[in-house]
Symmetry: C2
Subunit: 202 residues, 2 copies
């Protein structure tokens, strides 16, 4: 792609480093921002400056937050004794969108993955144990990825928590709603049969 | 989508205004920039500040430029007497990428489109006439969109240029390379037959 301006080229290069954005999309974005009269460009700059400088990590659950403690952890209406353990902030947002969980969260920051050099010490596991020990937690819901790494992480955490006698549950795995049964993978389909639930007859 | 931080939400909202970017992609971008240690975020901010403040429009062809005259217009190796007339800077880049044109450009800034409220006076047509009149231009290649609006614009410009007796040509329209003939639209296929070119036998 040939540019008539190095300034333009620099801006396009910067945008093309975003996930899922190629050079052509990046050019489209920058030209769109250049033509625009509604300060979209200023809003992006201000938004990035703000998150870079002011965004904090909640000291309880490790969610991104405006203050030291995030909105969820400081919400008195939420259950205090149920923790949902997830990998990332995106998982928190996905679960919040379902409106099916009214407890609090603990963000691990990933899963144990020796191949990627991620061990238990790289994750927020110690603080999870501390929370269970001191905050009167009754149930831990493990909502990590249904992968080898996720299972390993769940296993590791369950061993660490054993002395504390807290109830540990896993989110249900099974076939998706709207999915065609024949296209479900063997492992999921097999597990959905093993973990079948009783049909409630009316 | 529920956010635990208004700062994060503002940044995501700003990114979701980019063309082709929804809320989920915007969140992915912002989280990616937050996690990143390689100053991608700073590069985007700097890139946008630079293009907003320093980017100029070439006073000859209306291309984006670092200086008053763009790299193409100031390149002495390019033909001075052939002008390619296009709608936008993206068209210039697309044609430059083909490496098949060594003349100079004139960017109209759009096409005549009464429905969108774009008349001849909103486009860089007067300056095109001036260039043809004063710069010893021998040929104008019209490379605007093959649409009603594009044809109208070509017709309007050709009428304006008639007294100056400059040669006007159109880029060829026809079936695309690699395209399946049966999927080409009627108009294109019909025109490709009418405008057939002699096969050069070896």
């Amino acid at each position: 792609m040939k540019f008539s301006s190095t300034l333009l080229e620099n801006a396009v290069n910067a945008f093309s480093k975003l996930p899922g954005v190629g050079r052509k999309s990046a050019l489209r974005m920058v030209l769109h921002l250049l033509k625009d009269q509604t300060q979209k460009s200023e809003k992006i700059i201000q938004g990035l400056l703000d998150v870079n400088e002011k965004l904090k990590t909640c000291k309880i659950c490790y969610n991104y937050s405006d203050d030291d403690v995030c909105m969820i952890c400081s919400d008195e209406h939420r259950l205090k004794n149920v923790l949902c353990v997830v990998e990332s902030i995106r998982d928190v947002m996905a679960i919040e969108d379902t409106q099916q969980f009214s407890g609090r969260y603990h963000i691990l920051g990933g899963v144990i993955s020796p191949l990627d050099g991620v061990g238990p010490d790289d994750l927020n596991i110690d603080t999870l144990i501390q929370r269970v020990r001191h905050d009167n937690i009754e149930e831990i819901i493990m909502a990590v990825s249904p992968s080898i790494e996720g299972e390993t992480t769940t296993f590791y955490i369950s061993k660490k928590l054993k002395p504390l006698e807290v109830k540990i549950s896993l989110i249900a795995r099974g076939v998706s709603f709207g999915g065609d049964l024949e296209y479900a993978d063997e492992l999921t389909l097999g597990r959905s049969i093993v973990s079948r639930t009783p049909y409630l007859q009316s």
